[in-house]
């Protein structure tokens, strides 16, 4: 079972700001979801390897061949803020207050 404190922590890790009402609502909803997984847990899966994906395919790779993206300007233009300096064009982001390791 998950409590409100844990919901607050998960929200912080995901950088989400929740109102007290949302915290309450999500605690209930997340518990409902976890309860559903508890039901699945009743099955004996000791002999079943863990599954991370639905499609059984491995070793999908591409050759190491240069193909520059042709519409670089579009990429820069779609950023909320940019800045052109003597060095070139940059993406501009808000001040970094604290860092997390």
């Amino acid at each position: 079972m998950i409590n409100r404190e844990q919901v607050r922590k998960v929200a912080h890790l995901a950088r989400l700001e929740l109102t007290p009402e949302e915290e309450e609502r999500f605690t209930v909803q997340l518990n409902d979801i976890l309860e559903y997984f508890e039901q699945l847990n009743e099955l004996d899966t000791d002999q079943v390897p863990p599954t991370a994906r639905a499609i059984d395919v491995s070793n999908v790779t591409r050759p190491d061949q240069l193909q520059p993206y042709p519409e670089r300007d579009l990429l820069l233009e779609s950023a909320p803020e940019r800045e052109e300096t003597a060095q070139g064009e940059f993406f501009k982001v808000p001040q970094i207050i604290s860092t997390e390791d």
Partner: protein, 494 residues
């Protein structure tokens, strides 16, 4: 039994390294943009490395090959089943807010590499350093703070995503090192290995090889670990060594003063030659790893593994051993020659062409290295071919030319290449080994210097050098020096 008189506690350092090594592929790990260093900002970008919605990463097959080869060279077990995971954290150098890395199923684990130090007597000291794991991941972008002098006051940062998605392997060592010297040697051996493999240029200045150090101290004999401190920001091997030695002293002093070591990250400050605290670590971060749903797992087949294994070159540690045991070189010479694969191969080609290993080593480590340094050339660009160097060495060994003549003609061979034998013949430099001819020259010299001869005979034996010089001069430097010496002494004694 009475307890012994308390002695000063001895401490030992426990050191482990985490090394990020950039793989020298043409394109990024999950997209087809260039990995070129030094391009204009944000010119090597694409929707995948920027993490735009609806895009899908696809693994670069060269990245897999290079990671597996590095794993094999580090004596690791290659995972038959490996996968990618998302490591979540928020920082603007990471456009997706997660880094694609490998968490619980890295491509390679449980390896080791051997470092070799040479002691004061020239004997090799070998030590195995365990490799915990090697995994593949993407690099992050680069932040440029608006006016670094006022970083705290700046209201924004600028980001260059050229480096985002550049392929890395992270190599984690076991805490097997005990000194700054061992750690620096480990890092150098790692660089030699990736360079031999051709999977990375290992350039520390450009950030292709970045080492973070974990270090703690404890009293010798204790089996508990002290509090671990992380050091970052060292961009040379000597900085790694100095930062560790500084940190050992700092931690031991703190422990002896009864202070608590704080678990933290410290930065090496090159200017002040100290480590400075960056920030206190508050518990371990919560990266909430989970399997990357956009990338399928990796299953390296035994057949593929065998092919890659067969492509591995002879590695520096193997070469060192072979040079010492089969070629009879000193550990020091073996280390110097094997530091760079191209130089080692040049040396081997010279020996294969018939030169004595010791003489070949001396010429390559001496005059040839000096020439490459002054001319800023790599040995691959050298005009003098190994076969011609071997020819010259064989001429010296056969007494056809003296060592001095060898040194005299070397500059021309280095600059122009061509056959040593042909040059010696063209210049008429073949050594005079006929005793008759040398005796004639000696007679002429003695006749021309009666005063010196008189002094020699009355006890001034150090004039021998003068006479040798005169005979050499008379023969254009071509007289066999050993023979000249013998004959001169005989004649001088009358």
């Amino acid at each position: 039994m009475t307890p012994a008189t308390p002695v000063k506690t001895k401490y030992e350092a426990i050191i482990g390294l985490e090394t990020h090594c950039q793989l020298s592929t043409e394109t990024k790990i999950f997209s087809s943009s260039s990995t070129q260093f030094g391009s204009d900002p944000n010119t090597n970008i694409d929707p995948v490395c920027l993490g735009l919605p609806g895009t899908l990463p696809v693994l670069n097959q060269k990245v897999l090959e290079y990671a597996v080869k590095a794993g094999l060279a580090l004596n690791c077990q290659i995972a038959p089943y490996s996968k990618f995971d998302r490591k979540q954290y928020f920082y603007p150098d990471l456009p997706k807010n997660y880094q694609i890395s490998q968490y619980d199923l890295p491509i390679a684990e449980h390896g080791w590499l051997e470092i070799e130090l040479v002691d004061a007597d020239g004997n090799p000291i070998r030590k195995r350093i365990g490799i915990t794991r090697l995994h593949m991941e993407e690099d992050a972008g680069k932040l440029v703070h608006g006016g670094s002098d006022r970083l705290s006051g700046s209201t924004y940062s600028l980001v260059d995503y050229n480096r985002a998605g550049v392929p890395l392997v992270e190599i984690v060592s076991e805490p097997d090192m005990r000194s700054g010297q061992e750690a620096a040697e480990y890092a150098q051996e790692l660089r030699r290995i990736v360079r031999y493999l051709g999977v990375s240029d290992g350039n520390m200045q450009e950030g292709s090889l970045r080492c973070d150090v974990n270090i703690s101290v404890r009293p010798v004999g204790s089996d508990k670990f002290g509090t671990k401190v992380e050091i970052k920001n060292m961009n040379s091997f000597s900085a790694i060594q100095k930062a560790i030695d500084y940190e050992i002293e700092r931690q031991v002093a703190a422990v002896e003063a009864g202070e608590r070591i704080i678990q933290e990250t410290r930065l090496w400050d090159e200017a002040s030659q100290r480590t400075v605290s960056m920030r206190t670590k508050e518990g371990s971060s919560d990266y909430r790893y989970f399997p990357e749903p956009d990338l399928g797992p990796i299953e390296v087949s035994p057949e593929q593994l065998a092919i890659w294994k067969a492509e591995l070159p002879e590695l520096p540690a193997q070469k060192r051993r072979r040079y010492e045991t089969e070629l009879g070189l000193s550990p020091y010479d073996a280390r110097v020659l094997t530091d760079d694969r191209a130089i080692a191969e040049y040396f081997e080609a010279t020996v294969a062409a018939g030169a004595s290993p010791k003489l070949a080593a001396n010429w390559i480590m001496g005059d040839i290295s000096a020439y490459l340094n002054t001319e800023k050339l790599s040995i691959r660009e050298l005009k003098l071919q190994p076969e011609s160097l071997a020819e010259m060495i064989k001429l010296i060994e056969a007494n056809t030319i003296s060592n001095k003549i060898g040194k005299d003609i070397l500059p021309e061979l280095l600059a122009k290449g061509g056959s040593a034998k042909a040059l010696v013949e063209k210049k008429g430099l073949v050594q005079i080994s006929d005793p008759k001819v040398i005796e004639d020259a000696i007679d002429t010299v003695l006749a021309a210097n009666p005063g010196e001869l008189e002094k020699y005979r009355s006890g001034k034996k150090n004039l021998l050098g003068f006479f040798v010089g005169q005979v050499m001069k008379a023969t254009g430097g071509k007289a066999d020096p050993k023979l000249t010496n013998q004959l001169l002494q005989k004649k001088l004694e009358g």
